[in-house]
Symmetry: C2
């Protein structure tokens, strides 16, 4: 059952997890029960969890009981019987949701978040909750990188990325306000995608930023990314950012033959921060994939500052309840977000929103000739230590622009995962995922 | 050609204007040229313009030249050869756009607004620009009510409503941030609709409020409302509020048989401000239409304050360039908006946005059993005088919620127009327009 080879840094052997698509097909056809799929997942998780600490709420007996209830109901749906992990800032009515902060210890939501409700409606088994950094932006959690336990798994969706990487479950939910899907995905070596802003409703997900928060998924393949997002996307009548937005049809888009996409290589916004080995790997991949260099230009010069200002001002607002209940129990990182955010006045905040709008329009313009663009997912592999979940300079521009961003776990550096980030035009979720799948296939062929 | 009877208050005789659908059908089939349709419109306008002052830029010779160019190109499209009026806050590359303020005297935009570009692409002839109040929220313009020249036409889209009411053109563009489509429509006795927030792109329309500005149309019938909105709706890749939004298909929706809608009667938010005669007319119409009383409840208690705060804070930001160039040339009304807005800090502003989100969710909930709701369009007919363009208490809640709002010019009080406002769930533009069309038909039958 274990498939990984010797680890460079004392990592546990990582079991192989079947894909979500395979599990669902087996469960729908009666070849496997949801209870069996659940037991298998719990078994895989038990192998690595002592070394990885991906889960913060995982009650095996309760999960088995829910799986048996699924079997009694006759499992159906695109995710029939598929065990999934949920980042612990996403509300679940039958499990705690503690937001990675002692201020929410024992918190039990009244209702499922829209995404959780929809996963269950698609037949999925919500197995448990995964470790998030504090309030999805503050102090790190207990999770370790499955490929190198002395290194960070990235954050804030640390546990979701780590359990997928460790073969625990095939599909996990995360969220991204700066780089919290793509960064842990590249560090852990899994697929991660945040689709365009407003594609997935955020109702019932703890808010950091009204204009920056995105939900996203982690999976072992492009196909599972598609299955996961298709199950949860589309207007729920509750999140204004999704108003009037149709569900995605990513799985259908992936089922069509993949042609060579028109690819750009965007080294910005922080190529100077990319480590030399990683830069060489990215350049080589871009050459292999036929990507054409594209410089975004001066319209994006203030992107980092604009993202930071909007993020901190909106966090300062959203965190007021925690601040009020116990500022002293917040980490220095979270306190700094709030304190810096409170300094930004309404005129400055509204100007930052205008700047972001202008960048979105400029990006739509420069991307017209391309189906997608390649860009670094991070400056390099996961850094050592758990304290620092990694530089967000490679991810935050795409979050600010609200465009689709995907980590393709296609590269390695010094035996550690290094992701290629594939991004694209706003709304072009299907085109960008198709391009990412084509890139993954092409790079695999090239490696022979 | 003139069709109205004697006027109660010295109004000019108002010529009959063929519908946009009729003109386009004639022009497409070659029975009439765009140049002939243009000349007819100019003739109708000449009859009433000295009394009404609906237009601020109208160059008949230039319009005729554009119409002949349309004829040379072979007129086609759903609005082939239809003369349309554009509120003077909407950019036109071939005419001034002066925003109703001396600070923009002689301003000539570089490019058409998306809505103007789309109207032209649909075959329409942009005849000229219509009077707006100062920056669409300040001092009134020169326009008078076509049914009673001593009364206000309403604002801010004063000229667009007035010229449609006066038989000048069959279709006109306006905008609504508080009540600037529905209010002039009810006072002037024409159809007016602002669809759901984000349905029509606002790119190239002078911004007041990023979260409240809506584009809308005035017309003589539900069918022309549909033709107009269908021509201009849908994501343009430039206005973030429209991201991912499909074009509307309102004309197709109206073409299906109209069944009796499930109607609510919502007297709030300011029933106590409705004049006794108007209240009686609304109650009688609701009874005739079988509407069931629905009290929105305490979730909406702060709607007026929330709308006002968001509007003023966003106006204070958006008007900074005019304020900087010449605060002394702004009216007291506009200055008051800015000064009050500047007092609202970032925390208060973000809290107001949260309150608005909560009201949107609550409204979606209470409207579930209904296709649409009836509510007063205004407290009564147009008030006397031009200074005050009318109370916005009956319109601003629906703008804040971002839901479709339609004025149905179905009632009369003391010989003056009184509109029935039909509103509905967010995104239900087609259902609400169908309900409005059914109501209009039913009330016409009832009056025999």
């Amino acid at each position: 059952m274990t498939t990984t080879g010797p680890s460079p840094e004392g990592a546990p052997a990582l079991p192989h997890c079947p894909s979500a698509g395979e599990i669902a097909a087996r469960v729908r056809s009666g070849r496997e029960s949801a209870a069996e799929a659940c037991a298998a997942a719990l078994g895989r998780i038990a192998e690595t969890e002592p070394a990885i600490h991906a889960w913060c709420h995982l009650d095996g007996a309760a999960a088995q009981a829910r799986a048996r209830a699924l079997d009694d109901a006759g499992p159906h749906g695109p995710l029939a019987g598929v065990p999934v992990a949920i980042k612990d800032i996403v509300d679940t009515a039958d499990m705690p949701t503690e937001n990675g902060t002692p201020l929410d210890a024992g918190r039990r939501p009244q209702a499922d978040a829209t995404v959780v409700r929809r996963l269950r409606a698609a037949g999925a088994l919500v197995l448990g909750k995964t470790v998030t950094t504090e309030l999805a932006c503050g102090a790190h959690g207990a999770t370790r990188n499955p490929h190198a336990p002395a290194r960070t798994p990235g954050g804030s969706s640390s546990g979701s990325a780590a359990t997928v990487a460790a073969g625990g479950v095939p599909l996990a939910l995360g969220s991204q306000t700066a780089g919290s899907v793509v960064r842990p995905a590249t560090f852990c070596g899994v697929w991660g995608m945040k689709p365009s802003f407003g594609t997935i409703p955020r109702s019932g997900i703890t808010r950091l930023c009204r204009t920056l928060d995105h939900a996203g998924v982690f999976a072992g393949s492009a196909g599972d990314v598609a299955l996961g997002i298709d199950a949860i996307a589309g207007d729920d009548g509750l999140d204004q950012a999704c108003a009037g937005r149709a569900p995605t049809r990513l799985a259908a888009a992936l089922a069509l033959p993949l042609g060579r996409p028109r690819l750009a290589l965007i080294r910005e916004p922080a190529w100077d921060e990319v480590e030399p080995g990683a830069a060489a790997a990215y350049e080589a991949a871009a050459a292999e994939l036929g990507a054409e260099p594209l410089a975004p230009g001066p319209a994006f010069a203030r992107a980092k500052a604009v993202h930071r200002g909007i993020m901190r001002r909106e966090i300062a607002h959203a965190f007021a309840p925690w601040w009020g209940r116990g500022a002293a129990q917040l980490s220095d990182i979270a306190r700094e977000h709030v304190e810096e955010g409170l300094e930004i006045d309404a005129a400055a905040y509204l100007s930052l929103l205008d700047e972001a709008d202008a960048m979105r329009r400029a990006f739509a313009q420069i991307m017209r000739p391309y189906d997608a663009a390649l860009t670094p997912a991070a400056p390099g592999p996961a850094p050592e230590g758990l304290e620092f979940t990694g530089n967000r300079a490679q991810q935050s521009l795409w979050t600010l622009l609200g465009v689709p961003a995907i980590n393709v776990p296609a590269l390695k550096l010094d035996g550690l995962p290094l992701g290629l980030q594939v991004i694209g035009r706003f709304g072009a979720d299907a085109e960008v995922l198709r391009a990412a799948a084509w890139c993954a296939g092409r790079l695999q062929e090239a490696r022979g």
